[in-house]
Amino acid sequence: MSNSTSEKIPKELFEPASTDNMDNELIAKPQLSFMKDAWLRVRKNKGAIISAVILLLVIIMAAIGPHISHYDAYAQDVTKSNLPPKIPGLEKLGIFDGKQEIGGVETDVYKQQNVKEYYWFGTDSLGRDLFSRVWLGTRVSLYIALLAALIDMVIGVGYGLISGFKGGRVDNVMQRILEIISGIPNLIVVILMLLILKPGIISITIAMVITGWVGMARVVRGQVLKLKDQEYILASRTLGAKNSRLLLKHLLPNLSGVIIINTMFTIPSAIFFEAFLSFIGIGLQAPRASLGTLIEDGYQTFQFLPHLMFIPCIVICIILIACNLIGDGLRDAFDPKMRD
């Protein structure tokens, strides 16, 4: 066996070994940074990449969507109310053709109400363009979620770093506080907060942040406890590094994986919470639109005008599924051991 394989390899491929051993330690390949390494692994996860592209499209639509349909999201026009979706091009295929079953008979509502324009997603009971409103609502929902996730991250990382790094009595007291806060069901805190604060983007965000940072603080503290006794921290300390340098230069970069994963999972839960609050009637108030308020409005008439509810539902589901898939992908990439 071994003879036959050695015969097949041409002689030219062999190179003489170097005579001195000086470059034994030489690293031949370029060093992979933490982020590059993670990216290499995320790239293999097709679901995460597709989700990222879809999420990006949704974000772009949230940014430009309200401007492409030429209809203002707040302009009311009762003569054009309750129109089903109608999209030029697709109407010939028998879908999105502005027809609707009324009392068992298929009627062209656009002809009936003498409307010449196309409303891609239809209109609501006040004649407002649903296309503009859905993307405007997406914008508000994403904004609330990002803001909540960002504040959660800042508070949680700060608290976790201090608690884990200081240790001793400080850690003990901070952990007891954390235990008590995490014992309070967050749904209840959010609802109570919203009852006293005026419903609005900022108050919803604040209400969600009050209990939202606890998870992040816990994870960060756990990681700090694990990392702070490692040799590289000791080495840096021996060389005279101050605490602030240890925290910012050494610990924080090593925590970035868990921080990113945690934030990625906060975003969908914040979007869900906002929609949930709007659905039970204590979220954003009219005429402001978020995906939650649109679903809630649509639900009132969904037996007759299902599109008013289904379209925002589809958008919110797409966002949530995409966020969860990206989160899963990132988690597998940053730390294969940290699944579920």
Partner: protein, 310 residues
């Protein structure tokens, strides 16, 4: 163990005390009054009403009274619903909520476990991908969206099941399904990762080496051990069921606690909001405590007192 238990119970009491206090003071800052048609009442009538409900006393006195009453199990009387005691109203409404919650939990665990087991046993086949996809869907789709879609297609369009009512088993099918999707997703994901890990451990290799079939190894050795950590997801499941119950009960018009809570928020009925909040908080904290203790008992590898803190 005993020390740990005492410590946990003390935390539970502190947590509940804080929740009750926060609830009380928040309710005091709430704008609006709890009485209907307030503008029609004369000042005297308002005075009488305030006196009757003890709202004329200074806030610290009200607070002390409230706390003493809670310990006695008295959560006050509703302002809106004919002076019914809140405890009474909660007890009347706890039945449907518990029934739905229980059905959803059982259905969710069974279906979720099966999905998870199949996914792990046929890892990286279409069965695995399908079950993972279902789990992601279940985790992502909000229960109220799923509930409304069910209601529209099965209730309104196909007319297979009652749209929104509460009489008998048929009317509980759709709400149970809507509530069960999160437990299904959680159980499936969890079971899959656990089982894959267990299947690659040494004692499974030994069992295989002894000549047992794949089926036998999975059922007799692997699944049993993979089931243990599943106890930990019972806590999050209970939370999600509670959240879900509020909207799902509203959508399907079920006379449960969630529906009552939403209604009382919309009508400013302080005692019911406070009472339900404390009830929910109590339920959840106790469930989480029980789950933690159960976990320690079922899995001797977890040492509660030492392992919990590090």
């Amino acid at each position: 163990m005993a020390k740990y238990l005492v410590q946990r119970v003390i935390y539970l009491i502190i947590t509940l005390f804080i929740i009750a206090s926060v609830t009380f003071f928040l309710m005091k800052f709430l704008p609006g009054t709890p009485f209907q048609n307030e503008e029609k009442l004369t000042e005297e009538q308002q005075q009488i009403l305030n006196e009757k409900y003890g709202l004329d006393k200074p806030i610290p006195v009200q607070y002390a009274n409230y706390m003493v009453n809670i310990v006695k199990g008295d959560l006050g009387v509703s302002f809106q619903f004919d002076n019914q005691p809140v405890t009474h109203m909660l007890m009347n409404r706890v039945g449907p909520s518990l029934e739905l919650g229980f059905q959803a939990m059982v259905l969710g665990s069974i279906v979720g476990l099966m999905l998870g087991v199949f996914a792990a046993m046929f890892q990286n086949t279409w069965i695995d991908y399908g079950s993972t996809f279902l789990a992601v869907l279940g985790k992502s789709i909000p229960s109220f969206v799923f509930a409304a879609v069910l209601q529209y297609y099965i209730g309104v369009k196909l007319e297979w099941l009652p749209v929104a009512s509460w009489d008998g088993f048929a009317s509980s099918i759709m709400p149970t399904l809507a509530l069960a999707i999160f437990p299904i997703a959680t159980a499936a994901r969890f079971m899959r990762t656990e089982l894959i890990e267990v299947l690659s451990s040494d004692y499974i290799t030994l069992a295989k080496a002894k000549g047992n079939s794949r089926m036998e190894v999975s059922v007799k050795h692997a699944i049993r051990n993979a089931l243990i950590p599943l106890v930990t997801v019972l806590g999050p499941m209970a939370v999600s069921l509670m959240t879900g119950s509020m909207v799902v009960e509203q959508i399907f018009a079920i006379p449960g606690i969630g529906e009552q809570f939403v209604k009382s928020i919309q009508t400013n009925d302080f005692p019911i909001i406070m009472g339900t909040t404390i009830f929910f908080a109590f339920l959840l904290t106790v469930i989480i405590l029980v789950v933690d203790i159960l976990y320690g008992i079922i899995d001797p590898r977890i040492r509660l007192a030492g392992g919990a803190k590090k």
